[in-house]
């Protein structure tokens, strides 16, 4: 049974969030997104020449996304470098962003998206994707919508939003983790993963809760971008 959350949040409550854009001056676009003790920093370089050349597409651009964790982001130490987990997450983030960005506008070019996790307390891929999409918007890329991502799930018998590491590791009754990303104004799911075990009804509830969370994140993203561009003018 899981009746009260470890950090006393309501079951459909997100952790406190922070969003900021434009922190990396060298990049075409950049963003930092923090949710609870999870934080991701993203930088976008491009559109630029495709390398290696054979990845080039004549009718559209491509996205190359790299997700990595800083060694001090986890309780032990993440070995520096790109491992299999990083590869997989990079791939799912690339897929989500490919849907959001109007790639037809950039034939024969490449957009480099780099995301680093500086602090990890579950939900790093979602935080990374949220940061990456803000960085793309900050870079001025034409997009169908921003991406808002959050992990929802089920702990014991309770459907929960925005799981912490402590909750993910909850043993009694097990925990199910569902990272989910929306293009909120289009109501499109662009990233969806699941591990654990839930019934069909519960999954429906989880996705509904994820959607509500995504909309809250979406509002924050828009606010951060507006703040940036109103300061500049």
């Amino acid at each position: 049974m899981y009746e009260e959350r470890f950090d006393k949040r309501a079951f459909d409550e997100l952790r406190p969030m922070e969003a900021e854009t434009g922190l990396i001056a060298n990049a075409n676009g950049s963003a930092r997104f923090r949710i609870g003790n999870t934080e991701a920093i993203a930088a976008v370089y491009g559109p630029q020449e495709v390398k290696p050349k054979h990845f080039e597409k004549v009718d559209r651009g491509i996205i190359v996304c790299k997700y990595d964790m800083m060694p001090f982001s986890v309780p032990d130490r993440a070995k520096p470098g790109f491992d299999r987990r990083d590869m997989e997450i990079s791939d799912v983030i690339t897929n989500a962003l490919s849907r959001a960005i109007l790639l037809k506008e950039f034939p024969r070019s490449m957009i480099d998206v780099r995301v680093y996790v500086s602090q990890a307390d579950a939900g790093t891929r979602c935080a990374s994707l949220t940061a990456a999409s803000m960085a793309c918007a900050d870079a001025g890329l034409p997009m169908r919508d921003l991406v808002a991502a959050v992990a929802a799930g089920k702990i014991g018998d309770s459907v929960c939003l925005d799981l912490t590491k402590e909750e993910e590791d909850f043993h009694e009754g097990g925990a199910t983790d569902v990272p989910i990303a929306f293009l909120p104004s289009k109501n499109e799911i662009v990233l969806l993963q699941l591990d654990g075990k839930v019934s069909r009804e519960d999954l429906k509830k989880i996705i509904e809760m994820g959607k509500l969370g995504a909309h809250k994140i979406y509002e924050l993203e828009k606010k951060a971008l507006k703040r940036r561009f109103s300061n500049e003018s």
């Binding site: 990396i24 001056a25 990049a27 950049s30 060694p71 001090f72 986890v74 500086s118």
Partner: protein, 253 residues
């Protein structure tokens, strides 16, 4: 920045004028925050002008090096991460050089009392891992990385087995070896070079000083005369006081 601007900066440098209005030995504004990474044992976020770095310290048990059975270990890793620049060649060069120079400054000054990090001689000692990430490079990563690493070390606290209380790393504050980087453009020597200054400089010299000179690293193809080296070392000792006060101030509990 275009080639023309480089010419302009070079011409101005000959007259000791800098594009950002600084004097020859002025440092850019330094911003330091500690305790920014909750999974680390000590951490620092540092801005040196537009250059931004993040450093985290982790203190973990491990097997000692066979030739140093009675000492803890120090591992410094610097990444000019892909966030900071779009040029791979820059990143690889900087990663290796900055990491190694920062490591030397901390190691050679004996800042950390390695003998106190032994749990069981020959079997188990503590390793101090310092990981430094460049978030944005606007010149002088060497000093930024060094100061971020030192601040993170000053901030570091760890638990010993069998005790709940966190203790500070055994540091000798007299041995805080602070890096000072100078760029030589023509005959002018500039402290804390910006990225354009660093790029067009003929030569670069980084000097880490505590009560002694602990490490030096000359970069780029140009040269320094012995008099110029002595001048830089003198300046480093002069500038050290203010920089050290700043670092200590930010980590005072």
């Amino acid at each position: 920045m275009s080639i023309e601007n480089y010419d302009y900066i070079r011409e101005m440098a000959e007259k000791s004028i800098r594009a950002d209005g600084r004097k020859e030995n002025d440092r850019r504004n330094l911003v330091i925050k500690t305790g920014v990474i909750n999974h680390s044992d000590g951490s620092a976020y540092l801005e040196l002008g537009g250059t931004k770095v993040l450093a985290g310290v982790k203190i973990l048990p491990g097997e000692p090096f066979p030739d140093r059975a009675d000492e803890g270990g120090l591992i410094v890793n610097f990444e000019a991460s892909e966030l900071a620049s779009n040029y791979q060649s820059d990143r690889i060069m900087y990663s290796v050089e900055v990491g190694r120079v920062t490591d030397r400054g901390i190691r050679e000054s004996n800042l950390i009392d390695m003998k106190k990090l032994v749990i069981e001689v020959g079997k188990k000692v503590l390793f101090v891992y310092i990981d430094i990430f460049a978030l944005n490079n606007e010149g002088n990563l060497l000093d930024a990385a060094n100061m971020a690493a030192l601040t993170a070390l000053l901030d570091a606290k760890y638990k010993v087995e069998g005790s709940e209380e966190k203790i500070q790393l055994p540091l000798n504050h007299e041995k805080l070896s602070i890096s000072h980087t100078f760029a030589k453009i023509g005959n002018t020597i500039l402290y804390d070079p910006s990225l354009p200054e660093e790029n067009l400089a003929d030569a670069r010299l980084s000097i880490a000083v505590s009560d002694k000179v602990n490490s030096m690293q000359k970069g780029k193809v140009g040269f320094f005369t012995p008099e110029e080296v002595d001048y830089c070392v003198g300046k480093a000792f002069e500038l050290k006081h203010e920089n050290k006060t700043l670092l200590m101030h930010h980590t005072k509990k």
